[in-house]
Amino acid sequence: MTYAEGEGSGKTTMAAAKESSKSSFAVTCGLLSRYLRENKGGALQGLAGLGMAPPATAIEGGAFQPPTTMNLLSGLEDPKPDTVDVELAVDKGQLLQAPTGNQDAHQLTIFYGGKVVVVDNFPSTEVKALLQMANAAGDGAVDRTVPQSMPGPAHSDLPDLPIARRNSLHRFLEKRKGRITAKAPYQANSASSAPSKQANGDKFWLGLGQEVAIKQEI
């Protein structure tokens, strides 16, 4: 669980990546809204009544593209600190911004399954409890990657620049590939016999399986 509260930011994001926890999270959501209403510290009321937000960008990887319009509780332009309604930022630049209100209460944003909830003045004291509740429900199936909480509108405009490779390394790696294809035996064996050499219990990173290597020009 990533919880970031520095001097300037009090953003907390939660996103359940696994579909299986959807229903339990929905239940938790209901509990959450009741809990917050009871505890009164924040300005959140009635999570029901949320309109459908346009689908947020895929949670795993990719450049973050904040939705340009949010249709939660239409008609609200300026977030007002002490209202009881769910506040929302229509302007994408304001989404996930620096804290409004007093020092101890910050904006809380929840991403879930294509919907976004923004809560102003969520007290920092309640965060721990909130996280515990979510943890219990989500059972650790939480996306720890924070990048999507960082508004980077500019990054989406720019094509990705691949990390350039140093010329000397590039030449070496190309030569190595050449040797492997030319002299089939040793190096290929070395790479593929590595698992048997490693059979004595060394860790072998899994999961990066059949990723095709993108040829790096540079």
């Binding site: 450049a63 720890r144 508004p151 405009d157 350039a164 490779r165 190595r176 040797r179 070395s190 060394d202």
Partner: protein, 597 residues
Amino acid sequence: MGGEVPSPRRLTRALSSDSTSYLPDEALHLVLAHVDAPRDREAASLVCRRWHRIDALTRKHVTVGFCYAARPSRLLARFPTLESLAIKGKPRAAMYGLIPDDWGAYAAPWVAALAAPLDCLKALKLRRMAVSDDDVAALVRARGHMLQELRLDKCSGFSTDALRLVARSCRSLRTLFLEECSITDKGGEWLHELAANNSLLVTLNFYMTELKVAPADLELLAKNCKSLLSLKISECDLSDLVGFFKAANALEDFAGGAFYEVGELTKYEKVKFPPRVCFLGLTYMGTNEMPVIFPFSASLKKLDLQYTFLTTEDHCQLISKCPNLFVLEVRNVIGDRGLQVVGDTCKKLRRLRIERGDDDPGLEEEQGVSQLGLTAVAVGCRDLEYIAAYVSDITNGALESIGTFCQNLYDFRLVLLDRQKQVTDLPLDNGVRALLRSCTKLRRFAFYLRPGGLSDTGLEYIGQYSGNIQYMLLGNVGESDLGLIRFAIGCTNLRKLELRSCCFSERALSLAVLQMPSLRYIWVQGYKASATGLELLHMARPFWNIEFTPPSPESMLRMAVDGEPCVDTQAQVLAYRSLAGQRSDCPDWVTPLHPAA
């Protein structure tokens, strides 16, 4: 009187430029002759005209940090008795295939203007410059009889004909350095001539070149040059070097060669390295060949494994036998396990470089290096001065540990690779702050991340805690223009900045440059560029050149030095302080920008 320390006023008069000064010029000459550090020399030359003049006459070495910052004639006028000169050319990005061949940085004007008039010149170093056979010929004609050091580092445009000329004419040569140059190979006679004509050679380096040489010539060189300490060569079967190694008794550094017939150790069993060898870099060395190092691994001070075929396990095994390493260079196949061994074993380590291996998971065993390995190294190797690492994962905690344990760091470079989707702990704001606050000796810093890796706050921290950092490379940092401006406000001592793959606007870049009082050079690729670079003119000012490379798909067709195409179609900006006025030798795809007169 007598024995008293002179009062400050008397000292001032003693050192001042008026005619009744107590300190004669000769004395000042002697004093300044002991001042070598470039920054100290810079400061001394600014005290008064007299000191400026005496500095100019006594300074032995000058580095021209960027060849377009000053004219050769100016250098000659100020330092007529210079003995050693170094000039740097193309932007660093050229080492990564990002600068086409015809960009510039020609050695010709410098050689033409300086080779003959600089009577005392005996050492010349050119880095990332375009050098032709004619340039070398001009140099040799003028200085061949006393040239002791010639270093062409990552240069291109000349052939082995130039090397033959050097070999025949420069009988006083101690150092011939050609690492990673692109040289047209017209035959290996140059080495034979060098071996036959020279007996003083100490350093010969043509590592990472494609030159083909005869092992017999290397053996001849070893026999004739008894002081040969360092030899780094291109690919050449190591088993052919048995004779050379027998003859080169004084050798301490060796890199290059190659293991060709792999799988059979017997062929390489005969290879016995000279007794004093303490730096090794063996190309294509694999698991089975590794044992050639074992007999003297404990005396190794520097080890380069970047071009080997060793597995993670091999690294663990080999490094555990090398407790006296000062310098270690590897690819990230070393893995966290290997770095743990480094931390446990290499207590004297000063420099560590972890380069980026192949992205193909079939070829590299472990999937890179992470915060675990870096922390292990930081905790174990407290003397580290230089760390450069391509990591697959990183945490704030690891950065903080590095800051805490490696107080001697003066150069820290981190690149977060983009293969792994999940990174444990972003943004790295707090970690980078902790590291910069702790490492007060840091002078060079590179931080290349991914979107989301560093917020505007984090970027502001970098500026705020930049301290005495003079060079920075930043990639994929910050979220907005505001972050860049805040960063710039903090960087009072930053001299050279490289930015890549950032989200900043042209206007913000200009304004940021204006905030950095010490900045003399900035290179940017990958930002919110306009078609014309017009907003860059906000930073226009006297003695400041701005060169804009517009984004274009045609740049895809341009070739870099080694024949590999440049794939980057993004705009580039290069801006720098210059006393030489606008460049007159720009290629047509570079646009100098200046306000209308």
